[in-house]
Every structure is written in structure tokens, then in C-alpha cells.
Symmetry: C2
Subunit: 226 residues, 2 copies
């Protein structure tokens, strides 16, 4: 119900140069499912939409749905695997001297810049997560994965073992920033606000509560403070 990999058959190539007809068709079907499902979710709600509805609207057999996604929830988070991989790669690829948090910051900013153009489902997804406990749970599970890879990288930075306390605390706080980002991201990308949030978060990570302004009053649209 929360596992990621798809199990039926082998997923078509995608990695080698030529996608091939087969792979392209599968990709297209996948996209159709996502499109159709998100539309239905938006219209009738997540719980108000059955797998049968989705299958019918996507013109596939109900059974076939599970060849593409392991659960109904997974459709809502269809990009998660890529995001996770991309983040892990970005952490791997950081320059010497660049901390894991620097990488997180850079990755997020780039992601947001890209998403602004490219994520037609962001608003729906946020709404669905907010109103559907099962999706909120899934979302937390996804974040926990991000947290894990981040914690590993932080551990390297700090020179501690991967299961030491500090990296996990720091990673948890860093990932909690994503919540804030989502909260303040309501649909319209505001790179300024995002940067403010990220800078406040980094200040906290580095210097703790001591490093934070005492009375930022309302909201988290922090006037960044190094």
C-alpha cells in the first residue's frame, strides 16, 4: 500500500537511447491514467473515485491499472520515484565543500523553477493530501524517504555514522521545511518567499533556535537572516 515498485512484468527500457514503440505506448498509457485519475479525483474526491472509474475513463481493464501503479494513492504521487532519485543524485554530485543542505537548497530552487511550468497537478495534489488522510500518510512516507537519503549525506558531512542522532535531527528539520514550502506555495510560485523560508531554515539548522529572530510575528515569510 506504500511500496513503490511496480510488479507486473518488467518496466520497459526508458534508460537506453531508443524508447521503442512498446515503451512509448506504455508511457502514454501511464500518462493517460494519471491525467484521467487526477481529473476524477479533482471532481469527485479521492475516496469518491474507484479504480473501476479510473480504468473506464482511461480505457483499460481494471486489472491493468495495477500493472502501472501499485495502489490508488501511488497515482497521486506518480513523480515521487523520480524526485527521490533526482535528489539522491544531486546529493551524490555535490562539489567538495558544498554541504548537503546547500545541495537541498539548490535542488529545491531548481525543482520549483521547473515545476512552475511543468506540474499541472500540484494544486489538486495539495488539496487532496489536505483532505484525505490516506494521502497524507503516503505523503509522509515519501518525505521519510527523502529524509533518509538526506540524513545519510548529512552524516557524511558531519563525519558521523549514518544512524547517529545529529544527522537525523537535522534532516528531519530540513524536510519539515517542505511542509512550510507547501503551505506557502499555494499555487503561485514565489521564488522570493521560497528563498526566505529556505534561508530561515538553514539558519536554524546551522545555529539552532539561538540563531533565529525572536519575534518574526506572523507567518513564515521570513526576512532572511544569515
Amino acid at each position: 500500500m506504500i511500496y513503490s515498485p511496480v510488479t507486473i512484468g518488467t518496466f520497459p527500457d526508458m534508460s537506453s537511447e531508443e524508447p521503442g514503440l512498446r515503451a512509448r505506448k506504455k508511457q502514454r498509457t501511464r500518462e493517460t491514467i494519471v491525467e484521467v485519475a487526477m481529473r476524477l479525483f479533482a471532481e469527485r474526491g479521492f475516496d469518491g473515485t474507484t479504480i473501476a472509474d479510473i480504468a473506464a475513463a482511461a480505457d483499460i481493464a481494471p486489472r491493468t491499472f495495477f500493472g502501472y501503479f501499485p495502489s490508488k494513492e501511488a497515482v497521486v504521487f506518480h513523480e515521487h520515484d523520480e524526485l527521490l532519485a533526482s535528489f539522491a543524485a544531486r546529493l551524490q554530485a555535490r562539489r567538495p565543500g558544498e554541504t548537503a543542505f546547500d545541495a537541498l537548497r539548490a535542488w529545491l530552487l531548481e525543482l520549483i523553477a521547473t515545476l512552475g511550468v511543468d506540474d499541472p497537478h500540484g494544486d489538486v495534489r495539495r488539496r487532496l493530501i489536505a483532505e484525505t488522510p490516506a494521502l497524507a500518510a503516503h505523503d509522509r512516507a515519501n518525505r521519510a524517504q527523502l529524509e533518509t537519503v538526506l540524513a545519510e549525506a548529512v552524516a557524511v558531512d558531519l563525519g558521523t555514522s549514518a544512524d547517529a542522532l545529529a544527522p537525523h535531527l537535522a534532516a528531519a528539520a530540513a524536510i519539515a521545511t517542505l511542509d512550510a514550502l507547501d503551505r506557502y506555495y499555494d499555487g503561485h510560485a514565489q521564488p522570493e518567499a521560497v528563498k526566505g523560508i529556505l534561508d530561515e531554515a538553514l539558519a536554524f539548522l546551522h545555529g539552532g533556535l539561538r540563531a533565529l529572530p525572536r519575534k518574526p510575528a506572523a507567518g513564515a515569510r521570513g526576512k532572511r537572516r544569515p
Copy 2:
């Protein structure tokens, strides 16, 4: 699937002085269900145990199970509501000058002292959570609730609004400590190790990564460092 309150009928009194036969009986049944279910889970695993199994073993009708717990998962976390309430109360009741983190620390230490005598299912629960994704998800949901009440208290401490960034980051990091506690808590309470972990966590919360020792090597059994 994750909501807390039980829905069938009104839960018997429990708050006024005299429990009454009805309430006592319900309480007894509830405990029976927990006992029986945890035993079955331990023997056959969470997924290997059906509601029907539990009902049969507890000598109630399957339908009746749902008068006591809203889901199979809820049985595993049967004390969560009390814990949450107790934590919220402790936060409410802190003395002037006592920070939310102080309260968290005190609450945890007391809890652990109590649990040592009183939590016969702790080990099983930890094992189940580790091996069952659905339970891990539930566990995260529970922690998120703790995080929310903690963040509110921290916001008061900091003089920020409840949805500002800082309190949430700090609360997330603080709650992440519970993970570590669980990891190192393998069955045998070790108040020393627990205090070490808590102190390291508090140091991080207050002073950030800057405040932490650079090379604690393996594990999180931190030699506390103010």
C-alpha cells in the same frame, strides 16, 4: 483509517467518579482485544492476522471489533490518544520559564520510567512497526500529532505565530528524537543512554549543528555536551 475516535455509541463515562458496570465491562473487553490481538500479531504477524481471528480469540462478533477500534492498526497504538493528551497536558502545565523542550524531556523521562514497568507490548509493537508498512505509516501519523502540539507550545515560547517556520522545524527535529529513542531502546530501558540522546537533541535544537561535537563516531549514544 487513521482517525482516532470510536464511533459506535457513546463511550462510557470514565470521567466521573463511578465507572459503573457498563464502563468496566467495556474496558475489560477492550483490554482483552488488545491482549489477544497483540499475541496473534506476535505469532502470525500483522498481515497474517484477520479481524475475524481477533474477534474469535476475544470472543466477540467481528462486527463488534469496530465498536472498540476504528481499524486493525489502531489496536497496535491503543495508548496513543492517552499519550497525546498527557503530553498536551504536560505542555499546558509547565511552570513559567520552563520551555516546551524542557517539558518534552521531562515528560519522556517520566514516560519511560513508567513504561519500563507497564508496557508489555513495546517490543512487539516496535517489531511490527519495523516490518509492516501500514503500521509505520500509522506511527508517523501519530508522531505528526505530537509534533503539532509541540510546535504550538514552541511557538508560544518563541513568541511567533503557531504556523511560523521555526517552531515547526524545531518540533520536527525534537520529534525525530523519538525515532532514535525507539531505535536505541531495544526493550531494556537505559535511562543513561536516554538522557544522553535527549541532551544531544536539546543541544542541537538550541545551538544547531554548530553546537554538536564534530566526530561522535558511531551510534547516537552521545556523551552529552551542553
